[in-house]
C-alpha cells in the first residue's frame, strides 16, 4: 500500500476518483510509496500556504488544487520525467493562484476585524500544559533542553544567536532544528502522550 510521509496512506482529495488519484500519484514518482510521500508533502505545503494567506477551509482549497492539477494531467499535461516533483510544484502553484483568488474577500475582511490581545499569563491547571510536559519527557534530554532553551528569555535575537553559535550552526539551521522538535511535540500531542 502506498504510504504518505506520516506512514499512513495518502489522503485522497475530495472530488477525485480512485483512478484519477492513482494517475496523479503515478506522475509524481514511479515508486508508489515515494509518490505518496511527495503527494502528502505537497498537500501539506498547499494547506499551509492557504492558511498563511488567511484562507478558511485550507484543506478544501488544497484538495481543489489537486483536483485541477489532476484534470490538467487528464487533459494531456505531462510532468517532466527528469524532475516530476518540481514540475508538479510549478503546476500546483499556478493552480494554487487560481484557487487563492476565491478567498480574497476573506483576506480583505481580515484587515478590518478586531483581535484579542495575547494571553500571556501562566495557564494554571491547563490540561494542554500537562500533556506537553509528558511529551517533553519523552524527548531525548538534549532535544528537550534545546527547545526549552530556545523559548527562554523571549525572542531576543542575541540569545538565539548565542545558542546557534554554541551549537556551531547558522541561526536558520537552529530554527529548523527546533522546529523539527516542535513537530515531534505536535505529533505527540495529537496522539496523546503515554501516561
Amino acid at each position: 500500500m502506498t504510504r504518505g510521509g506520516n506512514g499512513k496512506p495518502p489522503t485522497k482529495p475530495r472530488g477525485l476518483t480512485h483512478e484519477e488519484f492513482e494517475a496523479l500519484l503515478a506522475q509524481l514518482d514511479a515508486d508508489r510509496d515515494r509518490a505518496g510521500e511527495r503527494y502528502e508533502l505537497i498537500r501539506r505545503k498547499l494547506i499551509r500556504l492557504f492558511e498563511w494567506r488567511g484562507c478558511d477551509a485550507a484543506e478544501e482549497l488544497a484538495d481543489e488544487t489537486f483536483n485541477r492539477v489532476a484534470r490538467k494531467l487528464k487533459e494531456g499535461t505531462k510532468l517532466r520525467s527528469s524532475d516530476p516533483y518540481s514540475y508538479f510544484c510549478g503546476v500546483a502553484h499556478l493552480v494554487y493562484k487560481e484557487v487563492l483568488r476565491k478567498c480574497s474577500r476573506e483576506r480583505r475582511a481580515l484587515e478590518t476585524g478586531g483581535w484579542p490581545p495575547p494571553e500571556t499569563s501562566f495557564e494554571a491547571e491547563n490540561p494542554h500544559l500537562e500533556c506537553l510536559r509528558r511529551c517533553l519527557d519523552r524527548l531525548p534530554r538534549d532535544q528537550r533542553d534545546l527547545v526549552l532553551r530556545y523559548h527562554q528569555g523571549g525572542s531576543h535575537i542575541q540569545s538565539r544567536q548565542a545558542l546557534a553559535g554554541d551549537l556551531g550552526i547558522p541561526l536558520n539551521a537552529l530554527r529548523i532544528r527546533v522546529h523539527r522538535i516542535r513537530r515531534k511535540l505536535e505529533a505527540c500531542l495529537d496522539e496523546g502522550p503515554a501516561h
Partner: protein, 313 residues
C-alpha cells in the same frame, strides 16, 4: 549566512502579509519547491506565534499574527503549543536555565530532601572553589521547591571541560548528573547544548491578610538580586481564599508605581499551598527599593511588603 538572514526576514514579512503580491507569489513558488525553505517558514511562523503569546509584537504585527497565523484550528493549536512552551521554559523547575531562588527566611523548608541536596551541592561547589550555590531541581511534573542560600562571595562555577560562561551569567548549579562536555563543532541532533543561560532570580512571597495583625507586622523580607540577573520571577503563595478561582495581582513600588499587574490569574496548587506565578520581569524593572505585592478578589485582599536590593558587580 546573508541569504539565510535574508530568507528569514523575507519569510517573516510574508507571514505578516507585508510583501507585495509579486513578492509573495515568487516566494510561494520557492516554498513549494524547496523543502528546507518551507521548514524554515514554519519555524519562523512558530517564532512569531511564540512572540505573539509573550506580547512581544507591535499591535499591528499582533493583529496580523492573530488573523493570518492563529485563525485556523491548526493555527490555534500551534499558538497553544507556543504559549505552553513559553510557560514551561520560563518555569524555574522545568527550564534548563539556572535559577537562583530565595524563599522567605522565616518560612520552614517544606522539602527537606531538596534542601539537603542543595546543601550537599553547595559543599561540592565550595570545594571546587565556587562560592555561590544554587539548585537546579530535576525535571518532574511535581517539582520540589528550589532552595538557595545566599552567599555574597564571587562566582566561579565552571565545570571541568566546560567553557567558562561570561561572568555576568555565571552561577554554580547542580545538574541531574554527569553532562557531556559541549562540542560546538559537532552538529549531531543529539548534541547537548551547554551555552551560557540567562540568570533568573525567583522571589517567593507568602501573602497574609492585613487583618492578621501580628503576622502582617513581621519584618520586611529582603531579596538580593545578584548582578547579571536577567529576569525575576515572582511567586505569590497563600493558604487562604480556598474558594477563589481567579485573582487580581499587582506588584507596586513604595511610591505606588505599578511594576506588574494582571487580572484573571488562576492559581496552581503545590503541596497544599496555592501559588500565583507571575510573568517573568526584566530585572531592570525592579530597582532597589521597597515594594508591595497584593492579591485581591472581589471580597478579599492579601498583601506582602518586600524589599529588593540590586547587588552591584
Amino acid at each position: 549566512m546573508d541569504s539565510n538572514l535574508h530568507d528569514n526576514d523575507l519569510l517573516r514579512s510574508y507571514l505578516l502579509g507585508e510583501l507585495s503580491e509579486p513578492e509573495a507569489d515568487r516566494l510561494e513558488k520557492r516554498l513549494l519547491a524547496d523543502d528546507e525553505l518551507f521548514q524554515l517558514s514554519e519555524a519562523v511562523e512558530a517564532d512569531l506565534l511564540a512572540a505573539y503569546a509573550r506580547g512581544d509584537l507591535t499591535p499591528t504585527e499582533g493583529k496580523r499574527v492573530f488573523h493570518r497565523l492563529a485563525a485556523s484550528a491548526g493555527g490555534q493549536a500551534r499558538l497553544a503549543l507556543a504559549r505552553s512552551l513559553n510557560t514551561i521554559a520560563s518555569e524555574p523547575q522545568q527550564a534548563p536555565a539556572r535559577v537562583v531562588s530565595m524563599r522567605r527566611r522565616d518560612a520552614p523548608a517544606s522539602h527537606p530532601g531538596t534542601y539537603w541536596a542543595a546543601l550537599a551541592a553547595a559543599a561540592l561547589i565550595a570545594v571546587a572553589g565556587a562560592s555561590w550555590f544554587a539548585l537546579q531541581p530535576t525535571r518532574q511534573s511535581v517539582s520540589p521547591q528550589p532552595i538557595v542560600k545566599n552567599n555574597p562571595a564571587p562566582v566561579n562555577g565552571t565545570q571541568p571541560g566546560q567553557q567558562k560562561p561570561p561572568a555576568s551569567l555565571t552561577t554554580a548549579s547542580v545538574a541531574e548528573g554527569p553532562q557531556p562536555a559541549p562540542s560546538p563543532t559537532h552538529h549531531d541532533e543529539h548534541t547537548s547544548p551547554k551555552p551560557p543561560e540567562p540568570l533568573k532570580y525567583v522571589i517567593t512571597l507568602t501573602l497574609t491578610s492585613p487583618l492578621r495583625g501580628a503576622e502582617g507586622a513581621a519584618a520586611i523580607e529582603e531579596f538580593r538580586i545578584p548582578p547579571g540577573t536577567s529576569f525575576v520571577k515572582i511567586q505569590l503563595e497563600f493558604e487562604d481564599l480556598e474558594h477563589q478561582k481567579s485573582f487580581h495581582a499587582v506588584v507596586r513600588r513604595e511610591d505606588h508605581t505599578v511594576v506588574w499587574e494582571k487580572s484573571g490569574i488562576a492559581p496552581r496548587r503545590m503541596k497544599g499551598v496555592r501559588r500565583l506565578v507571575l510573568d517573568d520581569l526584566p530585572a531592570a524593572r525592579l530597582p532597589s527599593g521597597r515594594y508591595e505585592a497584593e492579591v485581591t478578589t472581589e471580597t478579599e485582599e492579601l498583601t506582602q511588603p518586600f524589599k529588593v536590593i540590586q547587588e552591584m558587580q
